[in-house]
């Protein structure tokens, strides 16, 4: 099966600019996650979708971050305006369902550098 696709692979922007990341999950996977991974740390959940509904966005900085999952398939994550501390790898993951029997399948991420 094809894996989780993410683009772009790298992005460099200046602070206060905006940026968007795209994710295409594994076909048939109902649950989609966006994680932020700062260098040397484990991934931190930003938002979880079940189909096209939000399940958990408690750690999403909603004043600058937004995400959507139209039609329950592809998803985009946007940052506007970006800050220096947003420099990180943004990982998208999908799972068949939700819970222990549905391990996460990750894309290779988008590395964002904010200067």
């Amino acid at each position: 099966e094809a894996g989780v696709a993410q683009s772009p692979r790298y992005k460099i922007i200046e602070k206060r600019q905006s940026v968007a990341f795209w994710c295409n999950p594994i076909s048939g996977h109902a649950t989609l996650y966006w994680y932020q991974q700062i260098l040397g740390q484990g991934p931190k959940l930003l938002i979880q979708f079940q189909n096209n509904g939000v399940v958990d966005d408690s750690q999403l900085p909603k004043d600058r971050f937004s995400a959507e999952r139209l039609k329950g398939v592809d998803s985009t994550l946007k940052i506007q305006p970006a800050k220096l501390e947003d420099s990180a790898v943004y990982l998208c993951a999908s799972s068949l369902g939700f819970g222990a029997n549905s391990p996460l399948h990750f894309g290779n991420g988008t590395r964002l550098t904010v200067t």
Partner: protein
């Protein structure tokens, strides 16, 4: 809230030895713990899952244990190889939190 801690940032071992990585959690016992491997520039890859009522789980050279009394999971790689060098992450299914990861280097 729940906290997931991995006991060391880096672990260096000699090829052929057993690598043991630790994941500790605070507060309530997670119903499940998952272990992932992450290579540089790549996303994490699922390895093993262990449930609260399971003491041990094995897959080839990998073994995971779960001790609810100590609030700890141990991840073992036996007969380690340089190709096992990577960062290993534990993950709490309940609140979708990852530990910081342990970077394992296996020297030939």
């Amino acid at each position: 809230s729940q906290k997931i801690e991995q006991n060391s940032e880096a672990l260096n071992i000699q090829e052929g030895k057993t690598a043991t990585l630790t994941c500790n959690y605070t507060n309530y016992s997670p119903a499940y713990l998952q272990w992932y491997r992450q290579d540089p520039g790549r996303g994490p890859v699922f390895l093993l899952l262990i449930r609260e009522n399971e003491k041990e789980k094995r897959k080839e050279r990998l073994k995971v244990t779960f001790d609810t009394t100590l609030k700890q999971s141990l991840f073992h790689i036996t007969a380690s190889q340089p190709a096992d060098s990577a960062t290993y992450l534990c993950y709490n299914n309940n609140d979708m939190r990852f530990g910081a990861g342990t970077r394992l280097t296996v020297k030939p």
